[in-house]
Assembly symmetry: C2
Homo-oligomer: 200 residues x 2
Amino acid sequence: MQAIDFWYSIGSTYSYLTVMRLDDYCEAEGISVNWRPFNVRAIMVEQNNVPFKDKPVKTAYMWRDIERRADLYGLPLAVPAPYPLEHLVLANQVALLGMQEGWGKSFTIASYRAWFVDGLPAGSDPNLSNSLKHAGQEPTTTIERAQSPAVIEALDRETRTCKALGVFGSPSFVVGREVFWGDDRLDDAIKWAKDRTLHS
Amino acid sequence: MQAIDFWYSIGSTYSYLTVMRLDDYCEAEGISVNWRPFNVRAIMVEQNNVPFKDKPVKTAYMWRDIERRADLYGLPLAVPAPYPLEHLVLANQVALLGMQEGWGKSFTIASYRAWFVDGLPAGSDPNLSNSLKHAGQEPTTTIERAQSPAVIEALDRETRTCKALGVFGSPSFVVGREVFWGDDRLDDAIKWAKDRTLHS
């Protein structure tokens, strides 16, 4: 069975719904998932596709839609959460460093929980340092390492890689050459990983 | 059980997936649905929310996503279909007149089939006249009646009505005060109509 690449940016609102349930859900389905942080903002700006900027009606819908779905999944939530994030890039540099070192998921989940439940923007303190501590990392030196040229370049490279696959938003699930965009396409991606079709 | 208002514009691509399966699906679920054409383009322009304009990557994804879902639903499809439609407003004026007179669904379904299967833009001839004939209407006089001040005003009124509910795209399903946007939210809307929750 093919693995799923889970491309996400801390900073995406709908990705909250995925981050908080993905590993348990895929484990129950027997699917392997690779978490791959990228810089969605760079792609959105380049493609003139910033989804909620100056769109109050669509934004209000987005929060209500997330609220209904969070209730369905049994996830805690206080909406609207602060949006957009000031330090989206830094949050994802830290997440990527964490993926390289084995604490990235723990950091990502802690960042989203503090952002969506406690109202503290991800990528900024106190959320950033607290989430690093939660993931077992010393904040000051880790934040410094996350801004090294090597990590900056690694995040750029990941962003170019998923852009080349056709990813333009977060969350996206990639199975082979098929892109599935949105938390609401997770089941489709799982079906595709199992059978290369959406038919059951 | 509450009825679902199905707000749609002929001209929306994803609405193909809904139009072609909605009545059978809702009948099987025991749900009553009101088909309500509106002018989605007027709302999108006003809200600076035109989804695929100058967005080739997102547009390519949209066609592939529709292709996979049409296969899942067993719907015929030749993509990409001509897009955007030149005569979106006229198509929906005709559809609205048809809803008032009882032939609107038949016209809408015929328009979408000719557009998505035969590659003939909805709202323009030969699709327009052929779809009217399919719905049992004489094309020339019906197209004339669809452009009367009364129908123009009725479409504007419907557009204002759904905008006031928070509708900003097509297809949208409205149950009471809850808006569900997208063909992929039909199941959510049905659950809400039955139980006012997304829980099963």
